[in-house]
Structures are given as C-alpha cells and as structure tokens.
C-alpha cells in the first residue's frame, strides 16, 4: 500500500456512502450492491440484451491516490471467464501488453488498468481524480450505462 490505510479507508467509505445509503435507487437503474467494505466494491450490473447480471468488482487499496483495479466477476466474487465477458466500447479482451495479460480489462478513465496502459501516458489519474464522473460510483454508473447499450 502507498496510502495510509486509515486515510484511504476514510475516503473510500465517504465515496461509496450513497451506494450504501440508497441501495434501492441504484438497484432501480440496474446497479445492485453485493459487497461494500474497504477496499472493495462489488455490484451486480444488469445486461439487458443477455438477460443476465454480471458482477463488477473494484478494489481500491490506495484510494484516491491511485484509481481502483476493475474486474468482471461472478456475483460471489469468483473470476469471470474471459471469453464470456462483454467486449468492445472499452470492454477489452486480455492483452499481454497490459497489467491484464489473462483477464479482461476496462479501457475507461478511472480504472488503474486504463491509466497505467502504455498508450495512455498522457492520461494521468491525478488531474481527473476529483471529477465525480471518474470516481468509484461515477465509474460504476458509466460502466452500467455502456453495458445496458450493448
């Protein structure tokens, strides 16, 4: 860990509070909270065209100095099979040139994999880290919206 865990925890818990306090509102837009505790948020996202729910897990041990790692998972947190994950529109296949050589990754601002991708050297996290669109819950809402259109 880079950040003092007490600081990271305080910021994390502040940022995910709306999801904890208003789970019904999120569920009605297709975001169902499954597990929320520092340093992890796991939600079920509805994929209308497949009529299934996918797990999306964010892990942010150094919040908000570094953005979270992001994974598709099963609803219980087990890894999601790469070949069954959504692809396109920022949902990337495993890539040996990334931090995720064997797992799908998210080419979305606000994920560690995006900001540490070699081709994104001009897309640093820090200049946008305070923008709510890219913080934890804004990121999740964006992913849910893109998934709903696929």
């Amino acid at each position: 860990m880079i950040v003092d865990p007490a600081v990271a925890r305080r910021k994390f818990e502040r940022d995910v509070r709306p999801l904890v306090e208003h789970p019904d509102a999120f569920a009605r837009i297709g975001i169902r909270p499954l597990f929320v505790a520092f340093q992890t948020v796991r939600v079920a996202l509805h994929w209308p065209s497949r009529e299934i729910d996918l797990g999306l897990e964010l892990s942010a041990p150094d919040w908000d100095y570094r953005p979270p790692t992001v994974d598709w998972v099963k609803l219980d947190g087990a890894p999601w099979a790469a070949g069954e994950a959504p692809s396109g529109d920022g949902f990337q296949e495993p890539n040996p040139n990334t931090r995720r050589p064997d797992r799908p990754w998210f080419c979305f601002r606000g994920s560690l994999e995006f900001h540490e991708y070699a081709g994104h050297s001009a897309e640093a996290w820090w200049p946008i880290h305070a923008d709510e669109r890219y913080r934890i819950l804004g990121f999740i809402q964006n992913v849910a919206a893109v998934l709903a259109r696929k």
Partner: protein, 87 residues
C-alpha cells in the same frame, strides 16, 4: 402554466455521477430541461450529450415532456453521457 392540474408535480430521483439527487418537476417539463437542471450551471451546456434513462427502458426523447414520455411519480432515472465508455 401554474394552476394547470393536468400536470402534477413529479418527485424524481436522478442518479448522476454515482449520486442520487432528488428533482421535482411538473409533468409538462421537457426532458431536456430536466437534464439541464440536473447537470447544474457548470454542465448544462452539455445537456445534449446526455441521456435520461428510466429503469428498464430506453432513453427518454429530449423534446418530449415528462408526461408524454410516461414518467411516473417517484421514478428513478439514470443520467448518462451518450458517448460514455472506453476512452
């Protein structure tokens, strides 16, 4: 059209950037105006780049009123950037 009882006040929840916001609007309010209000003064000029999406349904047509679009009282809507996704 104050006093027009055909258009009731709707109590909506709009989720923007991962935060639910209460929004009250008359049923004859245009969807695009609801989007502008929800985005606030700093971002209202970008309203055309956003979709207002009710639960389990396609995005609302911006030129429609809430009543014409069938938005019910106590609805929860997601306000999403149209070009959201991978950068």
């Amino acid at each position: 059209m104050a006093g027009n009882d055909e258009h009731k006040q709707l109590h909506l929840t709009i989720v923007l950037d991962g935060k639910p916001h209460p929004v009250n609007a008359r049923g004859d309010t245009l969807v695009i105006d609801v989007i502008r209000e929800a985005l606030g003064p700093k971002r209202e000029a970008e309203a055309g780049n956003y979709d207002l999406v009710p639960e389990g349904a396609p995005a609302l047509e911006p030129s429609q009123t809430l009543d014409a679009a069938g938005v019910a009282d106590r609805s929860v809507l997601s306000l999403n950037k149209k070009d959201g996704g991978g950068a």
